[in-house]
Symmetry: C2
Subunit: 192 residues, 2 copies
DNA sequence: CGAGCGCTTGATTGAGTTCAAAAATCGTGG
DNA sequence: CCACGATTTTTGAACTCAATCAAGCGCTCG
């Protein structure tokens, strides 16, 4: 709660009271490593702000393979749009990679906070544009780059993440097999 | 202009006067097939609403290969975020695939229309979420699916587009070579 | 301390690429 | 409206990057 209030304060021009007022009705929740917060078919009206820990947003295909759409770390929000925005059944999983504490942001939070802090709408828009820009770069990378290039870009983009996430999940985020990633890394070390 | 006013009217609860008022200051522009509306390095404050025609949003990699991030057809907006939202240099190209007429939406349009129709902010948020949801599905597909599956999904998603776009551009959108797409199509016909 | 999980390594396979060239289609000017 | 050049699509053959299958190692955590 604390962290989320600070987050809002930093991004909007809020007084302390406004920040506490806005976040007072929110609840935090802890999940142990490995917990599933959302599964395909669910329709929850929760969005998560991460106080501490690390979540993954992923799918499982017909062959049982996992594909990671997104990681989410401290100070990020993770939202399943199918569920949260469009009230449809989700297609994805959300899982805690570490023991994680989240702020549960319900659907009506945005409805009520915009009365207190109307600027939140524009902040929201800006952040959504930023997400899109980010995802477009990822799509560009998936369309064009080799396994090695993808991995190097990943390291540059998330320098801190690689130590917190098992290697096979990085592979799954990059769209390659764990074996291939292992070989890519071996090559990089050898050539260095 | 016409089309854009209708577009807004349908999505927001606007009177005719409001719709005309909001769009009166906007300009339309025509581009011939093959025109480049934006190049990497540009920083334009234009966003495009497409009255008629078809645009592509793409990159060119070090080997000179093109990678299509997005197509945009009638009634869609195409925005380069680097440029339009963040005032940075663009990384992508925008090109007219057909002779195309667009409404030029300048940056300040949103600033001024929100005074007339505040609901536009929430509409905007909803559409951005929808874009993200869409792109997440595309990323999932790029991470998991074979050339054939991607192509079939593309046909399902854009049934009308495949006739308006040359095959090599579809291949470029799917992340495969034109040769591969040709073979995929051959196989599909044979198996049918 | 042992079972399971994650990472590595090797051998083989396979989907898609590359390069090359022919066939089909498009479009533009005469 | 036709013809010719350019672009697009198809086809073929060789090749390559990454996937698959399989086995072994090392760590950790129960």
């Amino acid at each position: 709660m604390e962290a989320f209030a600070i987050y809002l304060k930093n991004r909007l021009a809020l007084t302390d009271e406004q920040a506490t007022q806005a976040t007072s009705c929110l609840q935090t929740k802890r999940f142990k490593k490995g917990s599933i917060l959302l599964s395909p078919g669910d329709t929850k009206s929760d969005s998560y702000f991460i106080n501490k820990g690390l979540l993954r947003y992923y799918s499982i295909d017909e062959k049982g393979k996992e594909h990671i759409i997104q990681f989410a770390i401290e100070d990020w929000m993770l939202t399943d749009r199918d569920s949260f925005i469009f009230n449809e059944q989700s297609n994805f999983y959300i899982e805690a990679i570490e023991d994680t504490e989240v702020v549960i942001v319900k659907k009506d939070f945005f409805a009520s906070i915009k009365n207190i802090v109307p600027e939140i709408l524009e902040l929201n828009i800006l952040m959504l544009h930023n997400s899109i820009r980010f995802m477009q770069k990822r799509i560009d990378m998936l369309l064009s780059a080799t396994a090695e290039t993808r991995y190097l870009q990943f390291l540059k983009l998330y320098p801190n993440l690689s130590s917190r996430v098992p290697q096979w999940m990085i592979a799954s985020y990059l769209g390659i097999t764990p074996e291939s990633l292992s070989r890519v890394r071996k090559d990089l070390v050898k050539r260095k």
